[in-house]
């Protein structure tokens, strides 16, 4: 009799209990979490790197519902890109050595730029200079204005004449602005001016992708009137994903 009763009870239990979902929306009057993934912690976490107080959670948790209960909604990364790969920018050398500059002989060297968008939707790489090439005696090699005196930090121009002096750069490769086509050059935006010039884009991509490569060609040509000395400056690259 007991066995019958127990069997009946077990049968009822399986029949009447509903399915148990691993993920089920949680909600109350104050909040709603569609896909709950709760992380809990206790005590005060600490290590050599962190001194967290009461922060718990996870990286890139996605959109939080329940604004009223948390006080914020946050989304890390792009809604339409399912990747945890970092946005990466690489240059193939950390300095360009022009060696001994010879009058009327343009010296060129290159920097290879590589971008992997990873989890970013697009990107922009800008470049500018801290100041024109400057010697320890404060002499400068002016930024080039190209053969027809028609280039600046915004517009590119042709620079082939050995009698055109100055310092500038050209770009070739993937995602490079069209104005550089035909081997044209322009000036770096100069940050040392009283009104600093705006850094200009040297690579721009609106689509995600890996290993997008371009080459920056730096060129310097000096006249016989240029004071002798060692000339230096810093080229600054800024890599940012699009928003």
């Amino acid at each position: 009799m007991k066995i019958k009763f127990c069997s009946f009870f077990v049968f009822l239990f399986f029949l009447l209990t509903g399915p148990v979902w691993a993920v089920h929306p949680m909600e109350s009057d104050n909040f709603k979490i569609d896909w709950p993934n709760l992380n809990m912690g206790a005590g005060l976490p600490s290590s050599d790197n962190y001194g967290l107080g009461v922060t718990t959670g996870q990286t890139a948790p996605g959109l939080y519902e329940g604004y009223g209960s948390t006080g914020f909604k946050v989304r890390a990364g792009f809604q339409y890109i399912h990747s945890l790969i970092p946005f990466t920018f690489t240059i193939d050398k950390i300095a360009v050595d022009f060696g001994v500059l010879t009058v009327g002989v343009g010296t060129t060297d290159t920097i290879g730029l590589t971008v992997s968008c990873g989890s970013a939707g697009g990107y922009t790489i800008t470049a500018h200079e801290n100041n024109p090439l400057t010697s320890s005696a404060a002499s400068t090699i002016d930024d080039t204005t190209c053969d027809a005196d028609d280039c600046d930090e915004v517009d590119a121009g042709t620079w082939t004449l050995s009698t055109t002096y100055g310092f500038g750069y050209g770009m070739s490769g993937t995602d490079v602005p069209g104005e550089f086509s035909g081997g044209k050059y322009k000036q770096y935006a100069d940050l040392s001016l009283p009104t600093p010039e705006t850094p200009q884009a040297v690579m721009t991509g609106s689509n995600a992708g890996r290993n997008k490569q371009a080459t920056m060609t730096l060129k310097v040509n000096v006249s016989g009137l240029q004071a002798a000395g060692v000339y230096e400056n810093i080229i600054i690259f800024i890599a940012t994903p699009t928003y």
């Binding site: 001194g51 967290l52 922060t55 990286t59 890390a76 970092p86 050595d97 939707g121 600054i236 890599a239």
Partner: protein, 315 residues
């Protein structure tokens, strides 16, 4: 013997004490590449960032929070060194051994985790704040007495922060442009050239949003095609050219049809952060086989000329 000694010493010095490291690569990676936040005044939030040195040289880094504004209509950023625009928000790192703005070393192949904390004072005005968490290298090379340009690299991740008490900040959009590319008012396109749309949406509200919607193409023979808009952020007081998506790939808003003929309607409809048809615009165009007709006309003319030449020759 002395010569060999000198050569050996020079070789050892060259190998073990290189004067420059300029030919080595410098690589930086950052994750996440974007942070979108809607937050109440008086609240605080944290976010973990990973900065990786993927290059060949050990780096000395510093960090900063800077403001930005759109530089174009494709999502590019223009950094503004002045952080007044971010006042009164407070930014910092929660790391025990690292503060925002403090120099730190990042050896090659290593990743530095930073926990960014954003505090929004109770009195913060309800509006959008656009910032970039920026990491920058220190110039590295020993130039060795030669004229040279050193490089410095900065990598950043944009933060879109909307401060709102209700969580539903005022959002408003307008369709600046919905047109066929390379097409005037009366649009007649070639049947063999798939039409491509230009979609420019302006954000005239107080908070960033994503347009969620589609472009529907409908022809007189009931041909239909749908293109999904890419949910790209449009910042307050700016216009953005929106792209489309297909099977998780970013594509231009171009029809996939190989051949179209007759009158067509293209309808743009979207909602703000929500699929709806709150915003709509419709354009009409006609597709005709111009190129084919032109080719046939040329062929007829050539045949006519050949025929007349043959008749002349015969006479």
């Amino acid at each position: 013997m002395k010569k060999i000694k000198y050569l050996l010493i020079a070789f050892i010095l060259l190998v073990f004490f290189p004067q420059t490291v300029r030919a080595q690569s410098l690589g930086l990676g950052i994750y996440p590449p974007l942070l979108e936040v809607t937050i109440m005044p008086g609240k605080t939030l944290t976010q973990v960032y990973h900065l990786t040195n993927s290059g060949e040289v050990n780096l000395t880094m510093t960090s900063a929070i800077v403001a930005f504004e759109p530089s174009d209509e494709t999502g590019g950023v223009k950094i503004i060194e002045n952080t007044e625009k971010l006042q009164p928000l407070q930014f910092g790192f929660l790391n025990a051994d690292l503060r925002l703005g403090q120099t730190f070393s990042l050896p090659t192949g290593k990743t530095q985790e930073v926990v960014l904390i954003i505090k929004v004072p109770e009195t913060a005005p309800e509006k959008d704040y656009y910032a970039i968490l920026l990491f920058q290298t220190s110039p590295l090379a020993n130039l060795g007495g030669q004229s040279a340009s050193q490089t410095q690299t900065k990598i950043g991740s944009p933060l879109l922060i909307s401060v709102s008490r209700t969580g539903e900040p005022f959002r408003k959009a307008s369709i600046e442009e919905f047109s066929l590319k390379n097409c005037a008012k009366l649009c007649i396109i070639d049947s063999f050239s798939p039409p491509q749309w230009l979609v420019r949406i302006k954000n005239s509200g107080h908070s960033f949003f994503k347009p969620l919607g589609k472009i529907t193409l409908q022809g007189w023979l009931n041909q239909t095609e749908t293109l999904d808009l890419l949910p790209q952020n449009i910042l307050s007081d700016s216009t953005r050219e929106i792209q489309c998506q297909k099977e998780d790939q970013v594509v231009s808003c171009q029809s996939q049809s190989k051949f179209l003929i007759g009158p067509f309607k293209a309808k743009l409809e979207f909602g703000l952060d929500d699929f709806s048809n709150d915003y709509q615009k419709e354009i009409q165009f006609i597709a005709l086989p111009f190129k084919l007709g032109f080719g046939l006309l040329i062929l007829v003319i050539i045949l006519g000329l050949i025929k007349s030449k043959l008749v002349l020759d015969r006479d």
